[in-house]
């Protein structure tokens, strides 16, 4: 019955731990390994204009749906302007406004994004566009082209590809030439293509975006063609007819509207600059969770001050050390002094490194023990004697630190990190065992403690494990479950196989 409860509880704890872990890992994107740096891109739009005396209203098209990218944050820099974000037909607009302004002005809008190929951003299915009103002789030319292309295509996608092939033909036919005569920029070209597509009742729009490359100034938005095939939006290279999207293409705005509209200003100039950074994946996961308003992260360790975080990165490893301890004592059967003494010693090894840790610990215990034997002859009562041992341990630590410092071995200074009360208790316990059961038992006990401490140190010192536990503290629930299960382990300990060898009929 008890056993069933233990299994149920362990199962429950594991389930909670694993599901929280999977959620944070898969959904929120917390990294399971350290040093996962995700490239992030900062795109800065600078709007410069001269303002006359009077009010100014500036509207900037800003990204809404950006396939392949997710936004980390966005902000604006502008002195004395009111700022707002509006949803408009083409997407989103940033709006700056000021009642009175004079002289040259610069407004900045910055957006930080990171690549996420898995980000699917559903867009609405547009209605069939109304046939555009086109004047003659262009109308006839459009009708001819549409019927011609329709002959050579099967669906909206192939229609678009064929149309673009015709339009980009080095020796275009008369109708195409007539229509594209006025298209001086590629934006005009794409605009004309969307008009032709609209006549064929294919929803199409021009998109403009930025190809992200590190350290770029004065980036020109690149026009692209987007059509809807009744199911989803598809992207076409307007210059080749190829269905594709450029690498690292951040769609900035859709439609034919200009990027920026400034009322009350003149000499408007817009400039894009791109900068690439690397950011810790954790920070990205957190910000993403914050955007999704996940409560889990509100209570995460990362919300604590950095100093407290540092303390917890150590404290969270203690359960791991305790697990090592349980395995070594209950499954292997190694004798050790004190229940958690080895784990605490292992913690101080983190500061001193293994070799120095073992050396200093041995030195301290040996010296302390010899002084303890001397104290025994003074016939002191228990509590004063323990206090005397403690004081001696502190003095020894001081002496070791000073001597090693004078000898130029700075590692000796870290002896101060040993848990002195624990060491004093160890010395006292060891001396009692020494007297009662002999030196062999005492040395076996203390070396057992040291072995457990070394194992615990090695496991607790695994960097990836530390990162994993710190990022996913819910994994401690799994450790708790393991400890609970080990608490009901009734099999033989490894050392018992040797101890009862005689009974195994050997």
């Amino acid at each position: 019955m008890t056993l069933r409860y233990v299994f149920a509880l362990a199962g429950l704890l594991t389930a909670i731990g694993v599901s929280m872990f999977l959620y944070k890992w898969q959904v929120l994107g917390f990294p399971v390994t350290d040093n996962q740096k995700t490239p992030i891109w900062t795109i800065e739009t600078a709007i410069r204009f001269d303002s006359g005396p009077g009010s100014i209203k500036a509207n900037l098209q800003i990204p809404t749906l950006t396939p392949g990218f997710r936004m980390l944050h966005e902000y604006n820099v502008s002195k004395g302007f009111g700022f707002g974000l509006n949803y408009v037909s083409g997407g989103r607009e940033a709006q700056w406004a000021v009642r009175r302004s004079d002289g040259s002005q610069t407004l900045y809008y910055r957006r930080v994004v990171y690549e996420d190929t898995g980000s699917d951003q559903s867009d609405t299915t547009p209605p069939f566009p109304p046939p555009p009103v086109i004047n003659e002789p262009f109308k006839t030319a459009v009708d001819v082209i549409v019927s011609e292309v329709r002959e050579h295509s099967a669906d909206p996608a192939s229609f678009t590809a064929e149309l673009l092939r015709l339009a980009n033909d080095p020796s275009p036919d008369a109708n195409v030439e007539l229509l594209l005569a006025d298209a001086r920029t590629s934006a005009d070209f794409v605009q004309m293509i969307t008009t032709i597509l609209a006549s064929a009742r294919i929803p199409a729009r021009m998109i403009r975006g930025i190809v992200l490359q590190d350290r770029q100034r004065r980036v020109e938005p690149l026009p692209w063609l987007e059509i809807h095939d009744g199911d989803r939006w598809r992207y076409f290279n307007p210059n080749t007819g190829e269905e594709t999207l450029p690498d690292r293409y951040l769609i900035w705005w859709r439609g034919s509207e200009p990027l920026v509209r400034v009322e009350g200003g003149s000499n408007v100039e817009v400039n894009f600059a791109v900068q690439k950074n690397h950011l810790d994946s954790i920070a990205i996961a957190e910000q993403r969770a914050a955007l999704e308003q996940s409560r889990l992260v509100d209570f995460s360790l990362f919300s604590l001050p950095i100093r407290t975080q540092a303390v917890y990165s150590v404290l969270l490893m203690i359960p791991v050390g305790a697990l090592v301890m349980v395995v070594l004592r209950n499954v292997i059967g190694i004798d050790a002094f004190g229940t958690f003494m080895p784990v605490l010693i292992a913690l101080s090894f983190r500061e001193t490194q293994l070799f120095w840790g073992v050396l200093l610990f041995t030195l301290l215990v040996t010296l302390g023990l010899s002084i303890r034997f001397f104290l025994e002859r003074l016939r002191l009562l228990l509590v004063p004697r323990l206090s005397a041992v403690l004081i001696v341990v502190v003095l020894l630590m001081l002496v070791i630190s000073i001597v090693s410092h004078k000898l130029g071995m700075e590692t000796g200074l870290s002896v101060a990190l040993f848990p002195m009360v624990i060491i004093a208790m160890t010395i006292e316990r060891m001396s009692v065992v020494w007297e009662e059961r002999g030196a062999t038992d005492a040395i076996r006990g203390v070396s057992g403690s040291l072995v457990v401490a070394i194992f615990a140190y090695l496991v607790m010192g695994m960097h990836w494990l530390e990162h994993l536990i710190f990022t996913f503290p819910e994994l401690l629930l799994i450790i708790l479950a393991a400890v609970l299960l080990l608490g009901r382990y009734t099999g033989y300990r490894l050392v018992e196989l040797r101890r009862f060898k005689v009974l195994a009929g050997d």
Binding site: V383, R493, L497, V502, G505
Partner: protein, 328 residues
């Protein structure tokens, strides 16, 4: 390695983990522990139940009372000082006589003389809790020093052998004699180097011994054969052990009994976490016997009946004794 584990399992060897989880945690409620951990209380309960225990001369329960110690033992030829909450035989001082030439000096069993101040320091250590669990203040018992039965003279070195009996749900299931050696300093504790010898439950006859997990057939100091000794008062000893379970209420218990030359079997102490080396001494596992008791358990049986059933069930003839070759 795993083959060992399987064969041990077949031989019914009980491991530490299983003893703790399935027997001690299940059958020995924590609130009953003081009855066995506090030797003063054990003695009181045993006396109330009409069981024989070594006579208590006095108690020292505070540092100020340590001064009274010389007066308390003035008229005693021999006595024992032990901590009420000691474990594993730690802190037990046996005084076998007082020196008449030098006043205020006491003779240990190994012949060494210690001074009155040594004696007081020991008592003071006991009271301050050096030997008690967690270093809690303790009480020192001064009690009768058992004079051992001459039948054990050949197989013990300076000290009193005792008989350890494992009692499960009131039924004695396994027994061994612990024989002091020179290395054990006259103490009957296996981890100090005493020899443990298995005992046939049916007849009270000793079997081979074990020394530090190794099988031995003669005493390391005296060279006398360990096997083949008949423990006197065997019926009474088993009944006392069975009664010990009723007194303490513990379902898994180790009862330590000594045989005094003049007063017969006396209950020395009881233990809620008896060791497992008894299996090596008997060359038999506990698990099969524990299972057998579960099959035949009768809640209404009195100690005498339970002792009789134990003799019948666990007599050596019924046992499949494993071949002994002493090699380990």
């Amino acid at each position: 390695m795993f083959d060992y584990g399987r064969r041990m399992n077949e031989a019914g060897v009980l491991g530490v983990n299983r003893r703790n989880a399935d027997f001690i945690l299940k059958l020995n409620p924590r609130r009953l522990y003081p009855r066995v951990d506090d030797k003063v209380l054990t003695k009181k309960l045993a006396l109330e139940a009409g069981m024989a225990v070594p006579e208590l001369y006095g108690l020292i329960s505070s540092q100020s009372e340590v001064r009274r110690l010389p007066q308390l033992v003035e008229s005693l030829e021999s006595f024992v000082i032990k901590p009420a909450r000691g474990s594993g035989g730690d802190g037990i001082l046996v005084i076998s006589g007082q020196s008449y030439r030098r006043r205020g000096s006491y003779r240990l069993i190994n012949g060494l003389l210690i001074t009155e101040s040594d004696l007081k320091h020991h008592a003071s250590n006991v009271v301050s809790g050096q030997y008690s669990f967690g270093g809690n203040p303790d009480t020192a018992l001064i009690e009768y020093c058992v004079k051992f039965d001459p039948m054990f003279a050949e197989v013990s070195y300076q000290g009193v052998p005792d008989i350890r009996i494992i009692v499960y749900r009131g039924y004695p299931i396994m027994a061994m004699v612990r024989l002091p050696t020179r290395t054990s300093d006259g103490k009957a504790n296996l981890h100090k180097g005493a020899v443990g010898a298995g005992v046939d439950m049916g007849s009270g006859e000793t079997l081979n011994g074990v020394l530090k997990n190794e099988v031995v057939d003669e005493h390391p100091d005296t060279g006398a054969a360990i096997a083949g000794l008949y423990i006197p008062h065997w019926d009474f000893i088993l009944q006392s052990a069975a009664r010990g379970s009723d007194v303490t209420g513990l379902g898994y218990l180790g009862v330590d009994i000594v045989i005094d030359r003049d007063r017969g079997p006396l209950i020395l102490e009881m233990n809620a976490r008896p060791g497992l080396n008894i299996q090596i001494a008997n060359c038999a596992g506990l698990a099969h016997r524990l299972k057998r008791i579960d099959e035949i358990f009768d809640a209404n049986a009195d100690p005498v009946t339970r002792a009789r059933i134990a003799r019948r069930e666990f007599a050596a003839e019924r046992q499949t004794v494993l071949p002994l070759n002493g090699a380990a």
